[in-house]
Amino acid sequence: MLGNTADSIFWMFRYLERAENVSRLIETGFQLFLTSKNNIKKEWQSILKTTGSENYYYDQNQSLDSISVIKFMLKDPSNPNNILTILDKARNNAKRSRVSLTTEVWEATNSCWIETSQRLKNNIYDKDIQNILFELREKIALIIGYLNNTMLRNEILYFCYLGTFIERFDNTARILDVRHFLFMPNTMVKNDVINETQWEAILRSLSAYRAYMWQNQNELNAINISNFLILDDKMPRSLKFSLDQILKNIKLIKNNKVKNSDSFNLGLSIQSKLLSRKRNYSYDFGLHNYLDKLISSNIKLGNIIEDEFNFHK
C-alpha cells in the first residue's frame, strides 16, 4: 500500500468522523433550543468551543442566536470546521485514494458529498435543519456500512479505522473537556436543573444517551457519566474503546510486529495514562489537566502514524 494512499484514506475517515461529530453537536444544540431555551447560549458556546471555532464565530457575529450558530457550523466559509468544508476534504481524499476503495464505498461517499453540498449551498430554513442533519448522518452511515461489508480485511481497511478512532478519541475528549467543570464536586448541589440539561447534552452529542440510561437505571450523575464516557470498553465512543481500536488496528497493520513501532508504543503509554484515573473518582479537580494531556498525546500519535507509515516523502 502506498504511503500516499494511507495518508488520503486516513484523513478521509478522520473527516467523515468529524462531519458526523459536528452534525451531532449541531443536532444536540438544536434539540436544546427547542426544548429548554433558558440556558441555550451557554450550550452554543460550549459547542463552538468543542469544535475550536469560537473565535471565528465572534469575528463575524455579535450574539449567539441559535440559527446563526447553526448556519455558521453548517456552511460558513469563515469557519474552517463547517460541514461543507469537512465534506469537501473527505471527498477530495476519497478521490485521491479512489483505487483503494470499493465502488460501493466510493459511490456512497461521492453521492453523500454531491447531495449534501447541493443542499447546503441552497438557502437553509429552520424547518430543514433536522432533515439535513438526519440525512447527512444517514449517508455517512451508508458509507460506513459499505466499508464494513465490502472491503477486504487488509491494511487499507485498518487505516480507515485508524483515522476514524483517532478522530473519535479527540472528539470525545474535547466534549468532556469543554464541560470539565460539571464534574467538579458540589456542582450537582448548586443547580440540578441546569446540570441535568448539560449532562443530557453531553450524552446526546455522543449518541450515548440511551445506552447510558440503560446501564445506569435512568440516573444522571457525574461519576457514572465520566466512567461511562472515559473508561467503559463497550461504549463505542468512549476514550477507552477508541484507544483499544487504535491499538488493535496498528497491530493489524504491523502484522503483530509492534515491538519497535513508535505509534504502538505511544498508544500504550496513552493507555496507561488513561487507565491511571481510577473508577468512581469523584472529587475531580484534575479532569481538565488529565483530558488536556490525553488530547495532546493523541495529536502526537496522529503525527507519529504519519511518519511511521511514510505518508509523506
Binding site: G3, N4, K95, W106, E107, N310
Partner: protein, 492 residues
C-alpha cells in the same frame, strides 16, 4: 374509444422516427428510409417503450454518471471544475461482419506502426528506401534522439493505441488519426456499457451483444507480458498519473482500480538500487511495468523538461538499463504525428507486405509548395488541422466557416505552412440520438482501443463512439459539445 383514454396510450400513434431526416449515410436507416437490419430489433423494442419513461431513464443515466464520478475537468473553467460528458442512451450498432474488417484493419495498423517505430529508431530502412523523407523525422519534436539505438523490452513501443475511425458508407471505414501517445476515453466506453446494462437489462438478455468489458483484464495481461525480464514471475504494474487535478484522473484511477494495481504520482516514486520504486507503508517497493499517463516530456526532468515534477529523476536511466518497461515507450508519439499519418498505408505495405484494410484520408501537407497552393485555393472545401494539435482545437472546417474565419486562417497557414495539414471534408455517418421529440440523426466517429504484445493483438469489440450533439456539427470532441454513446457489436 374515449378520447381521453387515448391520450395515455402514448405509443400507438407515436413514431420516434417521424422527424428522422438525414442527408448523408445513416447507420440506422437506408436511403429509402427503411430500417437497416442491424437496427431492426432495437428499434422495434424502442418503438414499444413509453417515451416519457425513456426520458426518465435519460435523467437516471445522468445521475448514475455523476455518482460514479466519471467526470472530466475543463481547464480554465473556474465555476464547476468537474463536468460530465453528455451521454446518449441510443446505442450505436455495428454488425459482426463489418466489425471483422475493422478489427483486422486496426490490428494491421498498430503492428505496422510498431515496426515503423523499431525501424525509425534503428536502421531507418524506410528512409533508405526513399519512402519517407528524412526531414519529417529529424525536424519533428516528437522524435526523441534519446531513444535512438535503444531497444525497448520485447521491441514493443505502442502497447496501447486508440485508432479514430469514421464510417462513410456500408463497410467503408477511414482512419482519421492514430493515437499512440496516451490515448484516453476507455473508461467512458466501459462506463457507458455499465449504465446501459443498468438502464436496459432486457436488451442485454435478448441480443447477442459482444462483451466490451474485458479490456482491463487484457490490459493487465498485456502489461505483465511486456515485463522487461521474463524471469520475473509476477511483475509489479503501476499506473502513473499527473494527479488528481488532471482532466483524465478518473480514467487513471478507474483503470488502476480495475486492474488491481497501484495508481502512483511522481511524489510516490524514486529510483532505489537501480529500480523504479514506490513509497509504501512498509518502505520502497520495486515497479516492473509503468503504464504512464503523462507525456514524454514530463517523464524524467534529467532527460526532458527540467522543471517537471510529474515524473521521476533518473527514470530514463533505469529504462535504458532494461530495468523497467514504460508503456507506451517514450518517443512513440512520432508515429501519430499528423504529417506521418499520411505514410501509414506505405508502412503497411513496406513492413508487413500487406494491402491496407482501412482507408487513409487524403492528406495535403502544407509544407509542400504545390500542396500548399491547392489548400489555399480550395480551403472552403477542406478541413485544416495543426500538425501537433488535438482535441478539435486550432482547426478549420472550411464548409462550415465564415469568409472572415477562412481569411484569418489562410493568413495563419501562410505564416507557418509546416504547422498545417489539410484533408477533404468527409461525410461522417449519422446515428440516431435521443431527443425529447423523438430520435434525430447526428454525426459520429469511433475509437476502438487496441493492445499489442510480442505475440498478440487485442482490439476492443466496439470502442468509444463519440457523437456531435449539435445538429449538423461534425466536431465530436467532448471539449466542444460532443457526447458519447455505447457501441454494440452484434453477432448474427
Amino acid at each position: 374509444m374515449n378520447a381521453e383514454i387515448r391520450n395515455f396510450q402514448y405509443d400507438e400513434s407515436f413514431n420516434p422516427l417521424k422527424d428522422y431526416v438525414c442527408k448523408g449515410y445513416d447507420e440506422a436507416i437506408n436511403d429509402k428510409s427503411q430500417i437497416r437490419i442491424t437496427y431492426k430489433k432495437f428499434l422495434k423494442w424502442f418503438n414499444n417503450q413509453n417515451y416519457s419513461e425513456l426520458s426518465k431513464k435519460d435523467l437516471d443515466a445522468n445521475r448514475l454518471f455523476k455518482i460514479t464520478g466519471i467526470t472530466f475537468n475543463v481547464y480554465g473553467d473556474k465555476d464547476d471544475t468537474e463536468k460530465l460528458i453528455p451521454f446518449d442512451m441510443v446505442p450505436r450498432i455495428i454488425s459482426s461482419l463489418e466489425w471483422e474488417k475493422v478489427e483486422k484493419g486496426v490490428s494491421q495498423r498498430i503492428r505496422a506502426i510498431n515496426s515503423f517505430l523499431n525501424d525509425i529508431y534503428h536502421n531507418q530502412e524506410i528512409i533508405k528506401a526513399k519512402i519517407l523523407p528524412l526531414e519529417l523525422i529529424y525536424k519533428n519534436p516528437a522524435y526523441l534522439f534519446q531513444m535512438v539505438g535503444f531497444r525497448p523490452p520485447n521491441n514493443i513501443y505502442n502497447h496501447i493505441s486508440g485508432i479514430d475511425l469514421i464510417k462513410t458508407k456500408a463497410s467503408e471505414f477511414y482512419v482519421l488519426e492514430d493515437n499512440v501517445r496516451v490515448p484516453s476515453g476507455i473508461s467512458y466506453m466501459m462506463k457507458n456499457r455499465d449504465i446501459m446494462i443498468n438502464l436496459f437489462p432486457e436488451l442485454f438478455a435478448e441480443l447477442p451483444i459482444r462483451n466490451s468489458k474485458l479490456y482491463p483484464r487484457n490490459l493487465s495481461k498485456f502489461l505483465k507480458k511486456s515485463s522487461p525480464n521474463s524471469n520475473i514471475k509476477s511483475p509489479v504494474v503501476a499506473v502513473l498519473t499527473p494527479g488528481v487535478n488532471n482532466s483524465a484522473y478518473f480514467e487513471h484511477s478507474y483503470l488502476a482500480d480495475q486492474m488491481g494495481v497501484e495508481l502512483v504520482e511522481g511524489i510516490d516514486l524514486s529510483i532505489r538500487k537501480g529500480h523504479l520504486s514506490m513509497r509504501t507503508i512498509e518502505g520502497w517497493k520495486k515497479i516492473d511495468v509503468l503504464y504512464r499517463r503523462i507525456d514524454d516530456e514530463y517523464l524524467d526532468p534529467l532527460w526532458f523538461k527540467e522543471d517537471s515534477l510529474l515524473g521521476v529523476p533518473g527514470l530514463m536511466d533505469v529504462y535504458r538499463k532494461g530495468n523497467i518497461t514504460i508503456a507506451n515507450a517514450p518517443g512513440t508519439g512520432i508515429a501519430d504525428d499528423k504529417a506521418i499519418y499520411s505514410y501509414v498505408p506505405e508502412m503497411i505495405k513496406f513492413y508487413l507486405g500487406e494491402q491496407p484494410i482501412l482507408n487513409n484520408v487524403q492528406t495535403f501537407r502544407c509544407s509542400h509548395k504545390t500542396e500548399l497552393k491547392y489548400v489555399i485555393e480550395n480551403i472552403d472545401k477542406l478541413v485544416v488541422k495543426e500538425v501537433h494539435g488535438s482535441g478539435g482545437y486550432g482547426m478549420l472546417i472550411g464548409p462550415f466557416s465564415s469568409k472572415k474565419e477562412i481569411e484569418n486562417f489562410k493568413r495563419k497557414i501562410l505564416a507557418n505552412p509546416k504547422k498545417y495539414i489539410a484533408q477533404p471534408t468527409l461525410a461522417l455517418s449519422t446515428c440516431p440520438v435521443f431527443s425529447k421529440t423523438g430520435l434525430v440523426p447526428r454525426h459520429v466517429d469511433l475509437r476502438p482501443f487496441a493492445l499489442l504484445s510480442k505475440d498478440e493483438v487485442y482490439v476492443t469489440p466496439g470502442g468509444l463512439t463519440r457523437v456531435a450533439l449539435k445538429k449538423g456539427s461534425l466536431v465530436v470532441n467532448s471539449s466542444q459539445g460532443g457526447g458519447t454513446k455505447d457501441t454494440w457489436v452484434i453477432d448474427k
